[in-house]
Amino acid sequence: MAIKNKKLNLKDKYQYLTRDMAWEPTYQKKEDIYPDEQFEGIKITDWSQWEDPFRLTMDAYWKYQAEKEKKLYAIFDAFAQNNGHQNITDARYVNALKLFLSGVSPLEYAAFQGYARVGRQFSGAGARVACQLQAIDELRHSQTQQHAMSHYNKHFNGLHDAAHQHDRIWFLSVPKSFFDDARSAGPFEFLTAISFSFEYVLTNLLFVPFMSGAAYNGDMATVTFGFSAQSDEARHMTLGLEVIKFILEQHEDNVPIIQRWIDKWFWRGFRLLSLVGMMMDYMLPNKVMSWAEAWEVYYEQNGGALFKDLERYGIRPPKYQDVANAAKNHVSHQAWGTFYQYSQATNFHTWMPEEEEMTWLSEKYPETFDKYYRARFEHWDKEQKEGRRFYNNTLPQLCQVCQIPVIFTEKDDPSVFSHRQIKHEGERYHFCSDGCCDIFKNEPEKYIQAWLPVHQIYQGNCGGADVATVVEKYYHINLGVDNMEYHGSPDHQRWLDIKGLKPLQSNSEKKTAA
């Protein structure tokens, strides 16, 4: 056969390598081959309308990603050889990496599993291929993040068992249950949850803070990972928007279903991002911007424009968006206060902000910081300096849905917890907000099964009855070495040694980790 033109153009190549790899089944029914496509009630009339804006095919993907990865690992090697960890701003910064490694990298892996599944379940070939490629992206991201941060594991405590800890530590049930909720939903809800609500609407609030945070704090390994993942993230975001538009255009009956999922997943994502908020405001020695500023730019402005664009499909902004917008001035302080007082059970250190950081917080949060939070922080700081570092020795009440302790306050009165409770089939359930309570009421059977860490400890399912046993034996945290107060910790001591500063006047030396 004579070949006229060896090189296919992008459009033809996409056609051959995606759509043409599929076929119309003749001896099996389509519903039997794709059994998960119907039950959510989403109606797809014509899968061929699916547009992949990137027209990505496996051959191009392979080549491009291999190039990127080669460069990435060259920089990781250089970083390790040059003792790059010595060039960060301050060892407190490493605690942001511990949070990322145990809280976010396992989510990349969960996303890989989720996309691999939906990459099988859609009957449209274009959607299947896009999801399969994203599955590989997510797996790569999980892997490259762990490699980027593994160098720190040689020099600092608490990075040794992130995957195990993700499945067990109380606060890591927050990100874990978020993805478990999405992955146990049908394929269309999964895409609305992860591709749209998370990747498109909220991902900038996760990646920009962590990657800019790394850049501002001299962490070249993580910054380089961020650059390497950027083109993938751009593709995921574009896909997220295309997915939602495609589903909405297919049938008007899809609109109310999608709206309910947007309401749910916006709220779940917003709650999850409380962890990022505290990281930005409290864990970065050199601060990028405040959480409130990030929320304004990436949610209120960008999200505002997005939902205006979606208006023509009959979609309105997410329910309780007003509560989330008002909370931007509170959540980071509330979350950091929580981790500070339960730091005996975290896999990283906590501390009180230094005086100039307190001033920065007052400036960035003129309406809230001095009025509601400064007094408790100054009190804790004083207690710590006088040798009575505050830890809360009683376990907290958790929200049945987001699994965060009931720490958030009312929109109209920030001095009152926004606690909600209901009875369902004779059992009492407690929530942090109307947003989480609504999610429960829509699908109670799903959330009555929640594995709430506090309740599991009290049922005796976490290896012991006291905090020390749970933390050391069940969580694999070295108590007092990996966690608790930063000042005087082995990490702090090591940092002072690296910088050639005088040793601390404390008894911390005997606790220096292996």
């Binding site: 049908g186 206060g337 929580t338 509601y372 009683t394 059977e445 709430l452």
Partner: protein
């Protein structure tokens, strides 16, 4: 509403009282003292007296707060699951109507948290 699932969907609550080995959960919220970042979750014996609960569980839990020494919990204002409640120190929790996963709210008038900030 209920879960939209591909087949019949049945689930058991994970936190039934039977799973707590004879004990039950009790949550306590002390308003205006948000230094404690969330309401406390306590494991209690249902036949514990209310007085013993205050002395043996609530007071130690609240001890880290500068207001705790001034707090007269037994004579404070109580809510049980959002309804007004008058505790009897001699009565057991379960006889007082405090069942599994109940929420108590205790307001101590005059105590407004650290430097009056509700902290």
């Amino acid at each position: 509403m209920s879960v939209n699932a591909i087949s019949e969907y049945h689930a058991e609550p994970k936190d039934r009282v039977e799973n707590f080995n004879g004990m039950q959960l009790l949550y306590v919220y002390w308003p205006k003292h948000l230094m404690f970042c969330a309401p406390f979750a306590l494991l209690v014996a249902p036949d514990m007296t209310f007085g013993a609960f205050v002395d043996e569980l609530l007071k130690p839990a609240a001890a880290g707060h500068p207001d705790s020494e001034k707090a007269d919990f037994l004579n404070a204002q109580w809510l049980l699951n959002g309804e007004a409640f008058t505790p009897d120190p001699a009565a057991t929790l379960i006889d007082s109507g405090i069942d599994h996963k109940s929420m108590l709210t205790v307001t101590t008038p005059g105590l407004e948290g650290i430097r009056g900030s509700a902290s």
